[in-house]
């Protein structure tokens, strides 16, 4: 047993106002995160429109566990470990495909139904005299503990037992609801493959950054500030529409007061969002035909309510964020203590004008691409921090902004938009789910 495999040791890393650097750089902590945190929480897997027909599948990871998400029946999506029960071969390695009625391992042709059950083995008589029926291998491809398709978004919990989907997310699902409700048909469809951006830093740095409202005007001055400057110098004619890129990028230069006033809301279990009252997405121009389509479906009042909600980033702990107003989801896939794959997906609002998808696609490439001027400066900061944390100057990372004694993360709260409460909320949930099963094991012993 490593030095961190007790609830006491893990809990000691998280103080109300600071967290120990080992949570970001230590290899044992990373392994424990994969074993505990990513097993006991509900982790995003994919969108059901990525596997719309029977036999459609995608390959991805839950934590570092390779999994396949597959359409088993019209209304049933399975999430299986991507491992042949025979010798361990990954069953599929393409990022997406269709497997027909069954999976077939390319090594020895063992085949499995799309719910993982073993279907056939060539030359099966070789096992006739054995106890194969009782073996692990006979069980087929193992399914994860539990799967939930919430309005098209598929989440899974690896552990067989644990917190329910509803209890885990609670009222935070209002952000996902708002994103889906923005479709006049109440449905999203994935729009193309995700951007894939490799970060040499810990996955939590990306999660922290989603509600870090004190960095845009500093780190992104070179892109957003320059955009504003160029636009001003261009003497843009009044009647010529402002470049869409300006609408997207300029709000990053908003002053501290803007971010203070936008508000941050936190929910139990590490979820939270920026942009309670307004956000950098509030002032996007209206798209002809869209409001009308929304009102047709929802009525004037409800449509205004849906479109009036302009939440900025919603973090679903542990490792995704969504932007409801632009239908974007970013998945921070942990690859190692200092390596994270960021996949940025966009979705089409079914029944809405294409121009909305086009704005979203533009947002994605301007802000989240490996070629993005905004992304460049974010990654620069993460990687500098990842390296700097190895310094022996201090063991601690400060998350104290607007901290108050006795904060209770089990209750929903709305606070000043520059608080680091959401980061504290995340680390509170982190300690909770890291130690949940450690505690149970000890109690049982």
């Amino acid at each position: 047993m490593g030095k961190y495999e007790t609830p006491e040791a893990v809990n000691a890393l998280v103080q109300p106002h600071q967290v120990h650097k080992d949570t970001y750089i230590d290899a044992e902590i990373f392994d424990l995160e994969m074993k505990h945190l990513f097993s006991n929480t509900w982790v995003f897997v994919g969108h059901d429109s990525q596997t719309s027909k029977k036999g459609d599948y995608i390959t991805t990871q839950i934590g570092t566990q390779p999994v396949i998400m597959v359409r088993h029946k019209d209304d049933d999506i399975k999430v299986l470990y991507n491992r042949c029960p025979h010798k361990g071969t990954k069953i599929a390695i393409d990022r997406a495909g269709n497997t027909g009625k069954f999976f077939r391992c390319p090594y020895h042709a063992w085949s499995f139904k799309t719910d993982g059950c073993l279907l056939a083995i060539p030359l099966k008589k070789g096992y006739a005299q054995t106890k194969f029926k009782e073996s692990e291998a006979n069980k087929g491809m193992q399914a994860v503990g539990e799967v939930k398709n919430y309005r098209g978004f598929v989440f899974a919990r690896l552990a067989d037992e644990g917190i329910s989907f509803e209890d885990y997310f609670g009222d935070s699902l209002s952000s996902l609801d708002n994103m889906v409700d923005r479709s006049p048909e109440g449905r999203l469809e994935v729009a193309g493959p995700p951007l894939r951006y490799m970060h040499q830093c810990n996955w939590k740095m990306l999660v922290d950054n989603q509600t870090d409202t004190c960095h845009p005007m500093v780190a992104h001055e070179s892109s957003a500030g320059t955009a504003v400057k160029i636009f001003e110098e261009a003497n843009w004619p009044e009647d010529k529409p402002k470049p869409m890129a300006m609408e997207i990028i300029a709000p990053f230069m908003s002053p501290y007061e803007f971010f203070e006033e936008m508000g941050i809301r936190t929910w139990p279990n590490g979820h939270g969002h920026t942009g309670v009252h307004h956000s950098i997405h509030s002032d996007y121009s209206t798209i002809p035909g869209y409001t009308e389509a929304m009102e047709e479906t929802y009525g004037e009042e409800r449509a205004a309510e849906i479109l009036g909600e302009n939440r900025h980033n919603t973090v679903y702990f542990p490792n995704i964020m969504i932007k409801g107003p632009i239908q974007q989801l970013r998945n921070f896939i942990p690859m190692g203590p200092d390596k994270t794959l960021v996949e940025s997906y966009i979705y089409r609002l079914v029944g809405a004008p294409d121009i909305l998808t086009q704005r979203t696609a533009m947002y994605n490439r301007l802000i989240n691409a490996p070629t993005s001027m905004v992304g460049h400066d974010d990654l620069e900061m993460y990687e500098r921090a990842q390296e700097g944390l190895h310094s022996q100057a201090s063991d601690w990372i400060n998350i104290e902004r607007l901290h108050e004694d006795g904060e209770d993360f089990e209750v929903e709260a709305v606070e000043n938009g520059t608080t680091e409460r959401q980061m504290r909320n995340q680390m509170n949930a982190w300690a909770k789910f890291m130690t949940l099963a450690m505690g149970a094991k000890e109690a049982a012993e």
């Binding site: 894939r196 951006y197 070179s222 160029i230 890129a245 086009q358 490439r365 691409a369 490996p370 620069e380």
Partner: protein, 159 residues
Amino acid sequence: MSITRDDIIDFIYAEARMLDEGRYTEWLDLWLEDGFYWMPLDYKQKDPHNMTSLLYEDDFMRRLRVERLNGERTFSQKPKSRCHHVIQRPFVDEFDAEAGVFKTNTSMHYIETRLDDQFLLALTATHELKLVDGKIRIANKRVDLLNSDAAFGNIQLLP
């Protein structure tokens, strides 16, 4: 003086050299104002609008990119990156001297470096060129990375 295939080919070489030498203001002037610099995300991507690309930049964005590279507070460019294109002789796929419209297809190796890191990209650049007032200009440029769907770190300069 009439334009030759060699003029077109020389233009492609000269553009690559400009990028390598960081002569971005000159490079911006090669462009026609309504041109797009497109770097698809998906292999053989057809639609630049309704799905994500790595780049799809108009005049405003190109200017922003260049201006940012020179900025005082461009932290990811402190220190600056350097790049290097090795290009194969361009194919001139379309040559219509009368209309002043040309199209080339060029294989390149692109190397970018900063501090101790260096990476190599293989790519195909497709240029749509136009002759305007006796000068060759870029009407559109498309850069297809061989591994456009791979996970990259920062690509900061222009492949």
